[in-house]
């Protein structure tokens, strides 16, 4: 039985120092797939404290803190927006707008508040608005189909690379079939590393609802992918 905790600590993204760059892509993909396949109760470690401190300093008028804030948040925001839009240019544009909105609202930042859910909520609103205004649905094309070359691994066994790639594509395909609300809740928790409480804030719903959506997504993935998914979660 899966156990969800609102105060679940988050994953730390350590740099892959000393590893052949050509291997990194496949390793990251494999780690990402494994993290998606992992039950939601597993502890992960990450902290938003540097971003919170930077935003707090920026709100007080320290302009240099904006650069630190960007370094802390931009990769996560860009990853989230890229996954949602499947379009580099749109994701970049939305990241820029998110930071500019945060800049304009810096005086309202509450001391001690967590900047991450706020930033994601702004990014999500911009994304929704962007989709509405453009009058078309966010493209659900897979990243590889859009022309990006698959990363080549020399260190990992070829069958592992193939399995990892197939599973990543299958997960992405299955996720795209799920309701947006379920997929989004699952991705915010599993991919972006937000806690249940933070994801609930971003999505404007309750922790229980987020928990339910993420659990259903997890169950759907497990049912759809079966042994392939189970193998990665081990």
């Amino acid at each position: 039985m899966l156990v969800f905790r609102a105060s679940e600590p988050r994953r730390r993204r350590a740099p892959l120092a000393g590893i052949d760059p050509s291997t990194q892509g496949a390793m990251i993909r494999k780690a990402h797939v494994a993290s998606l396949a992992r039950p939601l109760s597993e502890p992960e470690a990450c902290t938003d404290a540097p971003a919170n401190r930077a935003m707090d300093r920026y709100a007080q008028g320290d302009d240099r803190a904006f650069s630190e804030l960007y370094d802390s948040l931009a990769p996560r925001l860009f990853g989230y927006l890229l996954r949602q839009t499947k379009n580099n240019a749109r994701a970049e544009d939305l990241v820029q707008q998110t930071f500019l909105q945060m800049h304009c609202a810096r005086g309202r930042f509450i001391p001690g508040a967590n900047v991450v859910p706020w930033a994601f909520a702004i990014a999500r609103r911009l994304l929704i608005d962007n989709v509405r205004r453009s009058g078309r649905e966010v493209s659900l094309e897979l990243r590889e189909e859009a022309g990006a070359p698959p990363p080549v691994s020399t260190a990992m066994a070829q069958d592992e690379v193939v399995h990892s790639k197939q599973l990543a594509l299958s997960i992405e395909r299955e996720l795209s079939r799920l309701p947006d609300a379920h997929r989004e809740a699952f991705e915010l928790i599993k991919t972006e590393g937000l806690t249940l409480a933070e994801a609930a804030q971003v999505l404007g719903t309750t922790v229980a609802a987020v928990k339910l959506r993420a659990h259903r997504t997890y169950q759907a993935l497990r049912e759809a992918l079966g042994p392939m998914f189970e193998r990665s979660s081990q």
């Binding site: 007080q60 939305l94 500019l100 911009l126 205004r133 804030q201």
Partner: protein, 235 residues
């Protein structure tokens, strides 16, 4: 070959340049603005209160008026805290919290009123519509000030936030009506003193939908960005 999911290094420079170009107030300036706004609203409400006659004890004993005003003032302060404070989150309180504030505030006022009505002496009858209009006028300045404080604040539930702010403004109107209206009649107080809170809650919800809700637009910075070299050639 360019990596598809990599952030372009130039983006940081573009964002920092755009931020430098677009001035934004610091927390100190925003806090000062909010304080001035709330003070102005208080002064406007006080002027309306004095214009309609100010404090009017009527046949009521002073102790009763003071104790009632203290109780209602406490309710108003609590409602204001519950509606205005964001609970340490930039995205505001939960919908349950805000809805509870909206419902509990008039109920708490009515409960206090019914308890205090037992020991109240009979007084002069006052027209319901007169107190109703006065209470709405007294509640409008704080409601507008609360809404402006939350203007485009990006809270998750703007309509629920606006409704809760309306309830808080209504509780301040009721506080002033306790000092102003000597009528002990429960029906009159329910219609003339608490009834306006319902109107203010509805107005607050409408303000929430239009003034508190974040107006996020994809092309919000389009004009300013066009003048920044290289800003629009991302990707």
């Amino acid at each position: 070959m360019k990596k598809r999911n990599a952030i372009p290094p130039a983006m940081k420079d573009r964002i920092l340049a755009a931020a430098q170009k677009e001035s934004s107030p610091t927390r100190t300036a925003v806090t000062l603005d909010k304080a001035l706004l709330l003070l102005t609203a208080g002064l406007v409400a006080a002027n309306v209160f004095l214009a309609v006659g100010g404090v009017n004890l009527g046949p009521r004993p002073l102790e009763l008026v003071i104790s009632t005003a203290l109780g209602r003032g406490t309710i108003a302060l609590t409602a204001t805290w519950a509606a205005c404070a964001r609970g340490g989150s930039m995205l505001g309180r939960s919908r349950i919290w805000l809805t509870a504030t909206t419902i509990a505030t008039p109920l708490a006022i009515a409960g206090w009123m019914l308890l205090a009505a037992r020991g109240a002496p009979t007084g002069v009858p006052v027209a319901d519509w007169s107190c109703f209009t006065t209470a709405v006028l007294l509640g409008l300045p704080p409601l507008v000030a609360f809404a402006l404080v939350h203007h485009r604040s990006g809270v998750s539930f703007p309509i629920a936030t606006g409704a809760a702010l309306g309830a808080a403004a209504g509780s301040w109107a009721d506080f002033l009506m306790v000092l102003h209206c000597p009528s002990p009649e429960v029906t009159h107080r329910l219609i003339g003193h608490i009834g306006p809170t319902v109107i203010l809650v509805a107005l607050g919800a409408a303000l929430g939908a239009f003034a508190i809700r974040s107006q996020v637009r994809s092309d919000y910075f389009r004009t300013d960005r066009s003048s920044i070299p290289g800003f629009n050639d991302a990707g």
